[in-house]
């Protein structure tokens, strides 16, 4: 009796594995950026509920992780789409090509603003990228004006900029693994560094040195890595009015009763300012489609259609309710055409 049971058990297991192996996939598999995740999931859900197709499966793997999975090959075990909060890199395209992925469709879906926010209980901050660079870089230009760098001596905002309040520099932000961190470093720290002539010059002459200065965040406790969970940062800001936090715009949007976004270079992080590009810390959000999978996996065309419809990504679309900053009508038109005609990316454009 027990023997029979055991045999049945083994048999079922082997058959199960075999059966699974042969089965094809009937849902879209999406991976990639955690910043795009909240938007892609809404589209996927709407797509699943309003069409005959299954709801796509979306994993939040980070942009880099997404490109790696996406570029590993063609076939049902590999994802069809990867989300990204940055453009695909040339090296990633090459790797994909080596794995037989020759045609990749690039679709931009809108923009995301990175905000530097604090609790409503504290005063609104008016910062510049230079202030932020001086506050957060591990080494900063010598305060005496000589073109050398010294370990960051600034303890309070006032010591950086006399207009700023006399409170300690304390910034909660994402860890290096996060796409938000990448974008922040690129858009704020690099730009802030360039405000100093000798560092600016360095970008041409010694790119490596430039990156080391601009992209190394201080580790003396003024910058606190708060993990990937932006909700946690919001909660901590509420508890500590002196601290600033760095996160995506959608978290500010959802918590406007508790936190406020500092203006950067005089521009407030509001919807319109990010959309028209006057707010300096914003980045494009994109996704990439493996053309070889279209028509192999059911529903990819229809999913692209849903994503690029005005009711989704339009200026009044449901994605804006979730905090997406839409593109201009022209840009939308451009990417609508690319997505629906599956025009592949030209690697030389990168």
């Amino acid at each position: 009796m027990k023997k029979v049971l055991l045999n049945v058990w083994v048999l079922v297991f082997i058959m199960g594995v075999g059966y699974v192996h042969a089965k094809s996939r009937d849902y879209i598999s999406i991976v990639g950026s955690s910043t795009v995740y909240p938007f892609a999931t809404v589209v996927a859900e709407t797509f699943g509920k309003t069409t005959k197709f299954k709801t796509p499966k979306i994993e939040s793997t980070g942009s880099g992780g997404g490109h790696k999975l996406f570029g590993s090959g063609v076939g049902v075990q590999y994802p069809d789409i990867t989300n990204s909060s940055r453009r695909i890199k040339k090296s990633e395209v090459e790797k994909a090509a080596a794995n037989g992925i020759n045609e990749i469709v690039e679709v931009k879906i809108g923009y995301d603003g990175i905000v530097i926010a604090n609790s409503k209980k504290a005063a609104l901050m008016d910062l510049s990228v230079k202030d932020l660079f001086l506050a957060l870089a591990a080494s900063v230009p010598n305060p005496d004006g000589t073109p050398t760098v010294v370990p960051n001596p600034y303890k309070t905002w006032k010591s950086i900029n006399a207009k700023l309040p006399e409170i300690a520099v304390e910034v909660l932000g994402p860890p290096p693994t996060s796409g938000t961190r990448d974008a922040f470093v690129e858009l704020v720290m690099d730009e802030g560094g360039k405000k100093f002539d000798f560092i600016n010059a360095m970008e041409k002459t010694d790119k490596k040195q430039f990156k080391t200065i601009c992209r190394t965040i201080r580790e003396d406790g003024a910058y606190i890595e708060a993990g990937e969970n932006d909700n946690l940062i919001v909660q901590k800001l509420e508890a500590n009015p002196n601290a600033l936090g760095i996160f995506g715009f959608s978290f500010l949007d959802q918590n406007i009763d508790k936190i406020q976004g500092s203006s950067i270079d005089g521009v407030q992080p509001v919807f319109e300012a990010i959309a028209n590009g006057s707010y300096p810390v914003s980045r494009p959000l994109l996704f990439y489609v493996k053309k070889a999978h279209v028509d192999q996996i059911p529903g990819i065309r229809e999913f692209l259609k849903e994503f690029t419809s005005e009711k989704a990504w339009g200026s009044e679309g449901y994605l804006t309710d979730k905090g997406l900053i839409p593109m201009s009508a022209d840009e939308r038109k451009k990417y609508y055409d690319i997505a629906n005609n599956l025009i592949p990316l030209n690697p030389s454009d990168l």
Binding site: L6, W9, F13, G16, V17, V20, H21, K23, R25, Y27, S29, V31, S34, Y37, P38, A40, T41, V42, A44, E45, T46, G48, K49, K54, T55, K57, I58, E59, S60, V76, Q77, K120, E228, N229, D230, N231, G248, S250, F251, D253, Q254, N255, I256, D257, E316, Y318, D321, K322, G323
Partner: protein, 429 residues
């Protein structure tokens, strides 16, 4: 033997010595008891604190704000032969606008409609599909309100704050107040939470998808790790000759039990996904990975349990002529079973709460459809908690706590099952 006489001579009697030390002995006994009691009270307090704080922030998720709509099931819109193509969305819109005839402006209308969840349309669709006979009548239907409305009604959004600091503006709040006066808006038991899969709309998100995923995953884990673990433990403990080779195996198993769980995820990625080509994100692979993780726990617990069976029982069985296998199967294993079960349950409970290894095999994913089998993409309860905790919408906060409550409930059920099974076994033997 002659102690008594000795003691008489030296006048120090044992009893005197005993009496002298007695007070100290009792004192240390008392102290020990106190420490134990304090430990128990402390852990109970922590537990109670956890429960209270989680239920405190989570219980509201079991209620959902709903709005009552009068819907005229217009036969000109709803063609019973082609219900799928009907414009339910428009019907919902129209019905809702009818309740606020004074709202004319397009922007205002949009604001008004945003009070309703997108789930309203799906609810109406389901209703009509289930009752096609009602077409032509006017029905009353409770549909879910938007999560912002839900937050306002539940008091998580403060009406007294200035308009700019709320996600709902003054006009919207006034509409809600009006609905409240008409008793058209109400908190109702949130069945969606227990029947739906994940959603990006908090009011439509449910725990059922993750629960099914957890169930499938744990089923695979149990079916694989229990028999294999018990077999391995029995073999190592009862049959294998003790030599260097078994020592190496033992050390390795103990090591495996302490390996961080993410490593099993990496292993699963390499072996089950890349090599065997099993479907990513499926509970099958999740179960395989978790059984790798659970196996060492079960083997170690199993061996300890087997070891604790007194050798006299083995001798008794062998003495009446049982073979070694019979001895193990009839006597040793049943006696060790309570211990093995405890180990298994501990292992399974750990597996139930695991997210890290599942990340590597794609189970940390947004999955709306309820998994219907072992190969469907699915997620599990702790992952669902993790995903919700990471969502920007305020309303997901209470969902997170509610999901934790469900997870804890599962653990309680599992542990009770373990206790029950143990009791049963102990009675039988």
């Amino acid at each position: 033997m002659n102690n008594h006489t000795n003691n008489d001579n030296v006048t120090v009697r044992t009893i005197d010595l005993v009496q002298k030390g007695l007070a100290r002995r009792y004192k240390s006994e008392k102290r020990f008891k106190m420490i134990g009691l304090c430990a128990i009270i402390f852990s109970l307090l922590c537990l109670a604190g956890l429960f209270v704080s989680i239920s405190g922030s989570g219980y509201t998720a079991f209620l959902q704000t709903k709005i009552e709509l009068d819907v005229f099931l217009d036969p000109s819109v709803l063609n019973p032969n082609n219900l799928s193509g009907a414009d339910f969305h428009g019907l919902v819109k129209r019905s809702f606008y009818n309740m606020f005839p004074e709202v004319k402006d397009r922007r205002e209308k949009k604001k008004l409609f945003s009070l309703l969840s997108s789930g309203a349309t799906y609810d109406l669709t389901d209703f009509v599909k289930a009752n096609p006979g009602k077409i032509g009548e006017t029905i009353l239907l409770w549909v879910p309100a938007d999560d912002d409305v839900d937050m306002l009604i539940k008091g998580h959004m403060n009406r007294d704050l200035p308009e700019s600091e709320r996600r709902l503006d003054d006009v919207q709040v006034s509409w809600i107040t009006r609905l409240e006066k008409q008793a058209k808006i109400e908190k109702k038991f949130n069945t969606t939470f227990f029947t739906a899969g994940d959603s990006r709309e908090p009011e439509l998100a449910g725990i059922w998808g993750a629960t099914c995923g957890s169930f499938y995953t744990l089923f695979i884990t149990l079916v694989l790790s229990f028999p294999i673990g018990v077999a391995a433990a029995v073999y190592l403990e009862e049959f294998a000759r003790k030599n260097r080779f078994t020592d190496v195996i033992e050390v390795n198993i103990n090591n495996l039990a302490a390996v961080p769980s993410i490593v099993f995820g990496l292993l699963g990625l390499a072996v089950f996904l890349n090599f065997l080509g099993l479907p990513r994100s499926s509970s099958l692979v999740g179960g395989l990975v978790l059984s790798l993780m659970t196996l060492p726990t079960i083997i170690i617990a199993g061996r300890a349990a087997l070891k604790s069976v007194p050798p006299s029982i083995r001798e008794a069985a062998l003495g009446v002529g049982a073979s070694k296998t019979q001895m193990v199967a009839h006597h040793v294993l049943p006696l060790a079973m309570p211990g093995i079960l405890t180990g298994t349950i501990i292992g399974m409970a750990r597996a139930l709460g695991e997210t890290a290894p599942l990340l590597m095999i794609g189970m940390v994913a947004f999955i709306v459809d309820i998994p219907a089998g072992f190969t469907d993409p699915s997620t599990v309860l702790p992952v669902q908690i993790f995903l919700w905790a990471d969502s920007p919408e305020r309303a997901f906060m209470e969902k997170t706590s509610a999901a934790i409550m469900v997870l804890l409930l599962f653990l309680v059920v599992m542990n009770s099952a373990a206790v029950f099974l143990r009791k049963k076994y102990e009675q039988r033997w």
